[in-house]
Amino acid sequence: MLAIGERINGMFREIGRAIRRQDPEVIQRVALRQVEAGADVLDVNVGPTAEDPVAAMVWLVNTIREVTAAPLSIDSTKPEVLRAGLQAAGDRVMINSTTAVPERMAALFPLAAQYNCPIVGLTIDASGVPRDAAGRMEVALQLVAACLEYGVPTDRLYIDPVILPVNAAQHLPTEVFKAIGMCRTLCDPPPKTILGLSNVSQGTTQRSLLNRTCLVMALAHGLDAAIVDVTDEALMEAMIAAEVLLNRQVYCDDFVRAYRAAHAVQG
């Protein structure tokens, strides 16, 4: 599974403060800690409070690039912030994210084509988040159609079927898991699937337990990538064990160490 580290987000108090004070040390420490913990990609989000989000994104990307060449997921709802982040990062990037609202797709899919990079597409359209798996597939098809229209290979699209907090919408995880499985039949090559995982446990008291259980269930349905707290050791170990049980990693007695060692080599 492609593990995308979620911690560099202005929404977190420590990161928000570091952005405002332009304190590179905090950002670089969090970046390296996530790479060491097994992140394949680092998500970069300036958060809601940055005064000049474009400048903040460029500063964040440059600050991270000083210490690691890990791929970056440039995370914003604003096309100009995304564009600035992609430009600063150079290669090894992905766009996080677009919805299926036509104006947004028209702004962001050409960026994915221009930078030849993966793009996350949320199954959200003008009327919001669909209620069930079938509704998610309808929106996913619009995202696939946009790939074809703007010249982005369909396997560069990561469809996020949007999971919501389980304490608010308890029927949803089942629909999301179904949608993950259905995405494989959308086109050839099929789009990949991704989840912003931590959302499922917002406002609950057992966040780590819910996160890792949800991740394992989603993996069993074919999930390819997830934006997660990679520093949650129990979560990463559950993911590694699931990969072994799904025959995505060859078993050996020290399969957790083998996974981590192989990732250390790649990083």
């Binding site: 060859v250 050996c252 083998a258 060692a261």
Partner: protein
């Protein structure tokens, strides 16, 4: 209607390993041997690159092989009791890409040669030939742990491949390789999980991935080789899908396995001419391991080696 050939895009590749060190690299080899690097299945150039062809090594025993059948002894003439002369013949006359020196004399159940005697043989073979050397213990763990350090030191800087590290006994040989600049054969009993486990043990001791060659103990044609094929194939697929801990090049022992089969040596006229049978058994076994994804074959009979070389040439793109 035009037929589109489906082409698989692999996310990983086989790692690259180089045996032997030249004078500039701190050794005395005139030739080095680079294995691996493929981003596709064996011979399938359609889907990726094959930067290095498979290599054919020949095995030299440090004690005269009294039990070898006549068809196997014949091509070697009178060199079978002189490892250095035997090695020279393999390289100069038969075109071996590397020499495997098997230290059978160290076996405590047999001659029980001393570590110093074995090290002296290593020195003599290194002086006699200029191709990379693979130094292989007698298989008795306790004795090998005494013999290998002496042989490793005698070959320091030559970037030899030392064999073998197994799950129960890997620390001494890995320490030797680290101290003297060699590489290690990571051995498993036809088990992909144990192969991965031995690899992780070696890397955790500090040996880089590009100094490990994998070896699954296999049989020959007719003796469960189908199972070996599927294990080697699965290992290659793991490398191509990005599993770094199974991405090293693979070695297969062909000669000794093929000539163990009774079909190679039993004087049974109904089975065909004895002079050709063992050779064909060895060549067919070798061809099979190459198709399964092996990078380095350890051969015995020069005529079998010639047949395999001809197959490799025929499968090269024009």
């Amino acid at each position: 209607m035009e037929l589109a050939i489906p082409v698989e895009q692999w996310s990983g590749a086989v790692g690259t390993v180089t045996l032997g060190a030249t004078a500039e690299q701190g050794g005395t080899r005139r030739r080095t041997l680079t294995l691996g690097g493929e981003s596709t299945l064996p011979f399938l150039r359609l889907e990726g690159a094959i930067p290095n062809p498979p290599a054919l090594a020949m095995e030299v025993l440090d004690a005269s092989p009294e039990k070898w059948p006549e068809p196997l002894r014949a091509p070697f003439g009178n060199v079978l009791d002189d490892p250095a002369a035997w090695a020279v013949k393999c390289v100069e006359e038969f075109g071996a890409d590397a020499i495997v020196l098997r230290l059978v004399s160290a076996d405590p159940q047999g001659q029980d040669a001393s570590p110093e005697q074995c090290a002296e043989t290593v020195r003599r073979v290194l002086q006699a030939v200029s191709v990379p050397l693979i130094i292989w213990g007698c298989g008795d763990n306790d004795k090998d742990n005494l013999v290998m350090p002496a042989c490793s030191q005698a070959a320091a800087g030559e970037r030899c491949l030392l064999g073998t590290a197994v799950q129960e006994n890997y620390k001494t040989i890995t320490a030797c390789a680290l101290a003297d600049g060699h590489l290690v054969i990571s051995e498993a009993p036809l088990d992909i999980s144990i192969q991965k486990q031995v690899n992780i043990l070696l890397t955790e001791q500090g040996l880089p991935l590009d100094r490990i060659v994998m070896y699954q103990v296999t049989g020959a044609l007719g003796y469960g080789v189908e199972y070996a094929y599927s294990i080697l194939e699965r290992t290659r697929l793991a490398a191509l899908t990005g599993d770094k801990m199974l991405s090293m090049p693979m070695l297969s022992v062909v000669g000794s396995e093929a000539w163990k089969a009774k079909e190679s040596w039993l004087d049974e006229p109904k089975w065909g001419a004895l002079e050709r049978r063992g050779i064909l058994w060895e060549a067919a076994t070798a061809a099979l391991f190459l198709h399964a994804g092996s990078h380095l074959l350890v051969m015995w009979h020069p005529e079998a080696l010639r047949l395999v070389r001809a197959m490799l040439t025929a499968l090269q793109p024009a």
